[in-house]
Amino acid sequence: MAAGVDCGDRVGARQHVFLVPEYLKDASKKMKSGLMFVKLVNPCSGEGAIYLFNMCLQQLFEVKVFKEKHHSWFINQSVQSGGLLHFATPVDPLFLLLHYLIKADKEGKFQPLDQVVVDNMFPNCILLLKLPGLEKLLHHVTEEKGNPEIDNKKYYKYSKEKTLKWLGKKVNQTTAALKTNNVNVSSRVQSTAFFSGDQVSTDKEEDYVRYAHGLISDYIPKELSDDLSKYLKLPEPSASLPNPPSKKIKLSDEPVEAKEDYTKFNTKDLKTEKLGLPTGHFVMAAQRQKRGK
């Protein structure tokens, strides 16, 4: 089927431009089905977000959208408004599990996982329990109990200490990636930064850690992000801010623009068109700047 003809047939059908990992194509040879978009919780905001779930490889991907004003696509012999570019990138399911573990921790007791990961808003969360190697993952963020002589069930309880340690490692490996990718992490906007090798030497280690902390904070609740900041011994971004309860101020870290966009996205389109939130790295530079002031 020629794509040109195809486009002609689909008058007005919304076309999504996607970038996905190459191995999904290879994996599709072996599997009949098992790739699906589902709505799950965004562990940072608690709202809904679109994820791509691979039943075959038992892998979870998040969908992020590049969206900038005044863009459109020409796709063969058709035009698509909006100029959106969707990214499906692997996501560590532990961030989502953590959302539920923290919620369940209010009850303050050890619980089996299937009683922790319960969600009326996003019932597809049960898919998370199908992911392989969960026990090993949970090791990073929970205390666990189990008596193999009675049953094979494991009981888990959120551990903040372990979680912070785990997040600290995440920040370290993200910091390393920022350096290898020559991402400009300084609070000043320098148009040269994205491609100039010299920039690396002028960015301070602290800037990298702060930027990495910001990236990770997009996957954890606000409170934990503050704790992580202390754990990393990041200085308060500004002395002019009122002292301890910096929470209110930091609320602006939540991608405000993204929310707006998402709403627009919603009103225009229904259902599947709600593929994702343009958050994170895309608005990151601006946020880092705000925070730096």
């Binding site: 040109g4 919304r14 599997m31 863009h71 990138t89 991402v183 599947t272």
Partner: protein, 192 residues
């Protein structure tokens, strides 16, 4: 009616037809620096494509690599500054556009995907569906689920800017570095 739809979305799964990822024919993509408020067919091959010419600097230097793909070392000289830029030129609605080819970051592949209308998948057989292997109903599929399929694939697209080629600090170039950062954020951390 409204609340019914809402309830359906909550439990919604949109299945991606895996077979379409293998069969997707190549597509030509242009990212324009303007909003065209229409979705639908357009005679791109009649008006736009034939008007594309090489930039004033001489011959097109070929595909450039996406910013995120260059993991080590300084950027290649041709990405530095806009003075030596060449690439393509075209006009759209009387405005001059300059652009260049941008490659999909390594390890990724581009797809154009279209959601199937419910009516199509319920009624007559859909072309995306009759791939033989996908016909068996998986237990994961439910009545209210929907389907999406790739109609085309790409490994590069043409990025257009108004008057000048979008610079290295263009947001879309930044976005293309996201997959490599995401990989680091979400990689498993070593056990103690």
């Amino acid at each position: 009616m409204e609340s019914g739809v809402d309830a359906a979305i909550k439990r919604h799964r949109v299945h991606l037809r895996s077979a379409t990822l293998r069969d997707a024919p190549p597509v030509t993509l242009h990212l324009l620096p303007c909003e065209v408020a229409v979705d639908g067919p357009a005679p791109v091959g009649r008006f736009f494509t034939p008007a594309i010419r090489q930039g004033p600097e001489g011959e097109h230097r070929g595909r450039t690599t996406a910013p995120g793909s260059r993991r080590t070392g300084p950027r290649a000289p041709h990405l530095l500054g806009s003075g030596g830029r060449c690439g393509f030129e075209v006009s759209f609605r009387g405005r001059c556009l300059r652009g260049e080819e941008v490659a999909v970051p390594p390890g990724l592949v581009g797809y154009v995907m279209v959601t199937e209308e419910k009516e199509v998948s319920m009624g007559k057989p859909d072309p995306l569906r009759d791939s033989g292997t996908d016909d068996e109903e998986s237990p994961l599929e439910r009545d209210f689920d929907r389907f999406i399929g790739a109609t085309a694939s790409f490994s590069h697209f043409t990025l257009w800017g108004l008057e000048t080629v979008p610079g290295p600090d263009a947001k879309v170039r930044g976005a293309l570095t996201w997959p490599s950062l995401a990989a680091a954020i979400h990689a498993q951390v070593p056990e103690d």
